[in-house]
Symmetry: C2
Subunit: 425 residues, 2 copies
């Protein structure tokens, strides 16, 4: 059941929809026998809407798959008899957590509004279907076959998300290389199902071949400037899955607050969060977010930006930030992480060792952007360090020194970091 439009099928209002040319689709939309795309990008939205209007009963899938062939033939679906099943040849079977719970979740998403049944005796209360305009053998299920084993890991940049989906006479067929592709196919299937005025659920005869246009389809949430309750993050992950996004870039801490509760450095959130009890993410919270995301094929890439954007860090870790000076006396305010002290690197090393255990993704975003040099320039100890290192007055060299010294420390996870491009100058 689509979550972005009514069953009349011409309006798209997805939580993350931006343009009809999505992160997932290719520029040329092809629906053989219906529309020949001009390939002119500014007309894509017309083509897209036309496509929806030209195929009676056909439902818009968002993002548009690479290839969709839809027919006017439609099948009624009986929710009570319908099941998602593992194909006999599938490399993953029942017990695969990702798909076991996806089958359950997508049942609800496919048959939105279908009332819960209480007993098995209600099974026969569903009205029998009929009518010559329908396909001859309505699907009583979707058989999901995954070619490669693997259910317990995490999605990554190399995950295969391609899938083929066929709805025709007999059970629907979904084939994917990995469980992550199967999740994308389930999303597409759920969007193909619609309800007519008689409240009967229908799906049209459809063939879909699909794969992502971009391997990294991310959404960023900033939980430092505005704390978001766990439930809001989980709902956002749900919405991301509806649009086939696959990376939650968790901008978890920054200048305004430090809501990540570090077991190693509890004072960071005790002093740096908006409130040490209510406005924090415990490790248990973080694990819940990561598992919720994993079950939807979404990676969680945390961002711990340094040496700038760290005002909140300084509250719980005294001596970490550079004291700014006004003339010859400290002004009482602080600048970026103090790059002249070994203790700064020791702290970073220990913190990121913990972070790399808590967050299993292959990448951690280390920021590195927008370092303001004025505080460093004001501090006499920094000036001495600059002279000692032979950096002259080029504070970009000091910044580079910090950037290079931190991530290249093994415990700072050399090789699995992301930084803002501004730090690469």
């Amino acid at each position: 059941m689509t979550r972005f439009q009514g069953s009349t099928g011409s309006v798209f209002i997805g939580p993350f929809r931006e343009t009809p040319q999505s992160l997932w689709e290719v520029p040329l939309v092809s629906s053989p026998g219906k529309i020949s795309s001009s390939g002119v990008s500014f007309c894509l939205s017309c083509v897209f809407l036309l496509l929806l209007r030209c195929v009676p009963g056909a439902q818009g899938v968002w993002p548009m798959p690479q290839r969709v062939v839809q027919s006017e033939v439609r099948y009624p679906l009986s929710p009570h008899d319908f099941t998602f099943q593992y194909g006999k040849e599938s490399a993953v079977q029942q017990g695969c957590a990702v798909l076991d719970v996806a089958f359950k979740r997508y049942f609800s998403l496919t048959f939105t509004g279908y009332a819960n049944v209480r007993t098995g005796t209600e099974k026969h209360k569903v009205s029998p279907y009929g009518g010559h305009r329908f396909g001859t053998a309505p699907p009583t299920g979707l058989v999901v076959t995954v070619k490669e084993p693997g259910c317990d890991g995490y999605p990554d940049l190399d995950s295969k998300e391609n899938y083929n989906l066929t709805v025709a006479d007999g059970p629907g067929v979904l084939i994917a290389d990995s469980v992550w592709g199967a999740l994308r196919g389930l999303e597409t299937f759920s969007q193909l199902v619609y309800q007519d005025d008689d409240n009967t659920y229908y799906v049209n005869k459809t063939e879909v071949q699909d794969y992502p246009r971009f391997q990294y389809r991310g959404l960023l949430l900033d939980t430092s400037r505005h704390y978001l309750p766990l439930s809001a993050i989980l709902k956002t992950l749900d919405a991301m899955a509806y649009s086939k996004f696959n990376v939650f870039h968790w901008h978890i801490v920054d200048d305004p607050s430090f809501p990540y509760q570090s077991p190693t450095f509890p004072e960071l959130s005790n002093k740096g969060a908006y409130h040490p009890q209510t406005h924090i993410y415990t490790v248990t919270d973080v694990k819940r977010v990561i598992e919720h995301a994993r079950l939807r094929g979404i990676r969680v890439v945390p961002e711990f930006d340094t040496p700038g954007h760290t005002q909140s860090w300084g509250k719980g870790q005294l001596g970490l930030l550079t004291p700014c000076y006004k003339g010859s006396v400290p002004s009482g305010s602080f600048g970026p992480v103090n790059p002249a002290l070994n203790s700064s690197y020791q702290f970073m090393s220990t913190l990121f060792k913990e972070v790399s255990v808590v967050f299993p993704d292959s990448y951690i975003h280390l920021g590195g952007d927008e370092v303001d040099f004025t505080c460093w320039q004001s501090n006499p100890d920094i000036q001495i360090f600059m002279a000692k290192m032979g950096f002259g007055t080029d504070y970009r060299k000091l910044e580079s020194y910090y950037i290079e010294k931190c991530p290249r420390t093994r415990s700072c996870m050399c090789g699995r970091v992301i930084q803002h491009s501004t730090s690469m100058r």
Copy 2:
């Protein structure tokens, strides 16, 4: 903040309240200087209500702790400044999942209705407190000290749940042997806090020494006769924690339906659940229930009742149940598990091997109650087996044979089973 009564403090309506003499309290309630209990059990409720009426501002804690000393001195609490903290001497510190998330949870439960703050700048908007009727040093937190390490395990029958709680001048003090006792103390503390007409939160000067009267305080949910959504189970666990219950007896399957989705035997829920997709508990669901319970100090004891109460099992595991006969021909209906077939024991062995991995508690409830002999009596193969075994016509011997053969198989977890007393005849 109590969840069972208004701040005037005379009515108890707890989700699981039965009598004022609870599972947790001792018969004699002692509140020195206020009430001398008569020890007559029928008057306990009067004593209990009197206690509440005689101590102005004192809040009822449910279940009644072993010993409570309350004073008229009360302290205003400022939610914005209040925190739960680990004591310096505590054997568990930040990073202990059970308490990290409990601190967060109990903040909300203690300060019910306290609006979320958005920025740290609102910190100083809280009105200053004053007045000579108050204690001199309002608690700005509760310091929790746990004597014994251990945060990653599960509660069990031997868990220590005792705790001492002191609210006086300065920070409150909660001392417990284990994290499970600390949870009970946090619950008590949250119930001691109340709001007055001016919406200010208060807690009276109080001393509590507490330990459970019964080590097993269970609640049973039957999810076979009526499927309960996961959210309903999780909410029930919340409510259990409010009343300091510590065992969720999950009567998960029975005659009417088999909602447990077994990875080893998927047909059990595919055929035996009310619906194979909507009315099931995946292993992921079960794990979520178990972790939700663990974080509240609650054990999850699953019940898989055999050889009776298994009608739903037969749908997905053909040959498991005894075919009933009408005269010399099968009637089409089925009775208890067929105790004459080795395949029955092999199936049970494999299923319970899986169940013992999925459910970490030391105990699994194997039922064994209410075995109806009429079907066994009707079946000619059972009669042959009875003769072969020398059981005569005593079907209780056949039942005992099944009961003894199944649980004493090592994989059926000899020594960690519970059975209904009716099976012990």
